[in-house]
Point group: C2
Chain length 408, copies 2
């Protein structure tokens, strides 16, 4: 970890991360094309930062050499294996020793969730999901005919915590426990005790644990990410860990992810139900980007984490004490889960901010269909300049409302 700290000293001054609004609007991505030009987007999980130089260099190499041949590096050239890069990274960051052969590359996280649920449950089985959750995960349960069992994250007055009583109640009806750690959208980095408590229920009821750890790189000091499978061999034996460089290195369009199976037996059980080639192969740009990110991306990542820590502080300073709003500082992720129920809006909070503030947050209902409409998810991974405009517009809109409220 010393080398990461040394890199940090350099990193924070070495990268010009920010892109202008004009640069951002030339992209063909969702974030900068979904809303009209007068709306500042702060929704889909993309960061408005320049990509890591080692990734850009790796992609430029592929382009320059027109190296668009069969992407069989995984079997032909071990040194270019995503699986090896992931295993080495887990050892380095968490002292978690895993074998590359336990890792299966594939295109994306949502695909991995569908695949794990298809393999480890049958139609009609219960699948426990932490709610609020990234909305495609609801489909991942329900499309293959499984039954969604919602384990809510509850606000205990200090933050959002897993409802372990609900978990114990739901476990007898379920075959899979899915967790998202760190948790999107609440930003929780689960503690060792929380993870052990959830794992204990999984062990008692013979549940497979599917742990989405895609936000793990973006955990703020003093909080620590703990891969749940690293806690014990007994937990690992029933755990599929899903990760990807696409979130923390901001390359979702390049499609590269991994599933790690805690034992080869678990992996074999998976492939007995889901043929490997049904998953498709990762493209060359995805392979090269993943390897560059995981092997050479640390200095850039530390610079981004420093920038995000600054942005997070701005969000908390602006919104946390504001009448009508409630916010816990996220422990990880570049998302803030903003409770707007105090504004007593008669439209969904997301709609209010688009119309009244010209800011496009993610609507809470996508994460929590039952109780989310008074929440928005704030994506604060942008330049300080753009974020400050977003926060100013947000406060101007809410203050009109709260001031009007006081006056009436």
């Amino acid at each position: 970890m010393t080398s990461e700290r040394d890199a940090h000293a350099l990193a924070t001054t070495d990268f010009d991360l920010d892109l202008s609004e004009d640069q951002l609007r030339t992209r063909r991505n969702v974030k900068w094309s979904q809303y009209p030009a007068d709306v500042l987007p702060a929704f889909v999980a993309e960061m408005d930062f320049a990509v890591a130089p080692p990734i850009q260099a790796a992609l430029e190499r592929v382009l320059r050499q027109q190296d668009y041949g069969y992407p069989k590096r995984d079997t032909e050239r071990p040194e270019y294996t995503i699986s090896e890069s992931f295993a080495a990274r887990m050892q380095r960051l968490y002292g978690w020793t895993i074998a590359a052969e336990e890792v299966q590359p594939l295109a994306d996280l949502v695909q991995a969730k569908f695949a794990a649920i298809t393999a480890f449950s049958d139609p009609g089985d219960g699948v426990i999901v932490q709610v609020p959750a990234y909305s495609p995960f609801f489909d991942a349960v329900e499309t293959p005919g499984r039954v969604l069992k919602a384990m809510r994250m509850v606000d205990d007055g200090t933050g959002y915590v897993p409802d372990l009583d609900a978990l114990r109640r739901l476990a007898p009806e379920a075959s899979i426990l899915t967790i998202c750690n760190p948790h999107n959208p609440t930003g929780r980095a689960f503690t060792k005790d929380e993870l052990l408590a959830m794992a204990q229920v999984a062990i008692e009821h013979d549940l497979v644990i599917v742990s989405d750890e895609i936000h793990s790189d973006l955990t703020y000091e003093p909080f620590k990410h703990i891969p749940i499978a690293s806690l014990s061999p007994e937990i690992a034996a029933r755990t599929v860990t899903i990760n990807s460089p696409t979130k923390s290195f901001n390359i979702p369009g390049l499609r590269a992810a991994v599933m790690h199976f805690g034992t080869m037996a678990l992996k074999e059980r998976f492939f007995a139900r889901v043929p490997r080639k049904l998953l498709g192969q990762v493209g060359v740009f995805g392979i090269e980007a993943a390897n560059a990110a995981w092997r050479e991306g640390t200095p850039w990542l530390l610079a981004v984490k420093a920038a995000l820590a600054d942005r997070r502080a701005r969000v908390v300073a602006a919104l946390a004490g504001e009448p009508g709003l409630k916010l816990y500082a996220p422990e990880a992720t570049y998302m803030a889960w903003l409770d707007c129920s105090g504004l007593r809006l008669n439209v969904p909070a997301q709609q209010f901010f688009v119309e009244e503030a010209k800011v496009g947050f993610s609507g809470g209902s996508a994460f929590d269909p039952d109780a989310g409409s008074t929440f928005v998810r704030v994506n604060f991974a942008t330049s300080a300049e753009i974020l400050d405009r977003i926060l100013d517009r947000t406060l101007t809109a809410t203050r009109k409302l709260t001031t009007a409220g006081h006056e009436s």
Copy 2:
């Protein structure tokens, strides 16, 4: 088609397609890294040609703008939809009218085969495969527990033809007929009569037809590619057509393919068994490359077809009359299926050519485990200079043998 002919006149002089052996060996692809440096590779289905300029320009645009965001163009921006590009191309090339909504993009052909077999058959069902066949297609049948039924391509003295009697015999035990049209590795572009005869059996026995048409762009005059689903609505209603720009535009590492369902009912039947998101999403480089290939790639493609026609003529001139070898000029594809049984080798033909000619062909056993060891598949998609060296080495090795044979 007039515009294609006009483009042709320009195309054949406008492109510098050839890459030197030194350039090729810098790539990290399979073709130029699997064998030792003294072996000339002529196996895996990649062409040694510079990529089409519109594809390179599209990829450069993504790289320059770091446009690595969520690849949701398919839903967000209809003008960048692979499905639309494919539908427009089928209309233009074959007068085949299909709807973009009948098309599902995914990563690759092998994935598409697995998915179609998973969706349209049950464990224990028979799946008919034309043999010889691309070897991953055997896995695509057997890994999900289906039973492979081999319909052989038989040498009738004028070329390889589908064994329709075998098809009629196998059909009652099968639920799927897979065909490869044009056929890899024999290079046959099936005639309308052949396709109608196969389709008729499928209709009589209620088989789903899975038609791999990835080589269709590379059909030589006077032969014509006919999409089997274009022959009648009755055939379309039971046909999944699989295609991709990655073969004819030589970009297999970019991972982009399509499945076309002849009716929406067939598509719905598919997605009732295989959740859409289990397939993963196509990456941004794959999307941009596919659109550039299918919308702007014709001039380059015509230049490549002219070059391949020249290479094909060289292969036929060199090998067709040679003692111990038997070869029919391929009607499509950049492959020649070379029957070496006349050499009476006591090792597989592929091994003989690696050891004695320092040429790496694809071994025939991969395509036909029972009867393929005396065959090799010759990939002739390279520069005239490299191909001539391959052919010289091949003939030098076989002549040593046939001369020795005559002398003994």
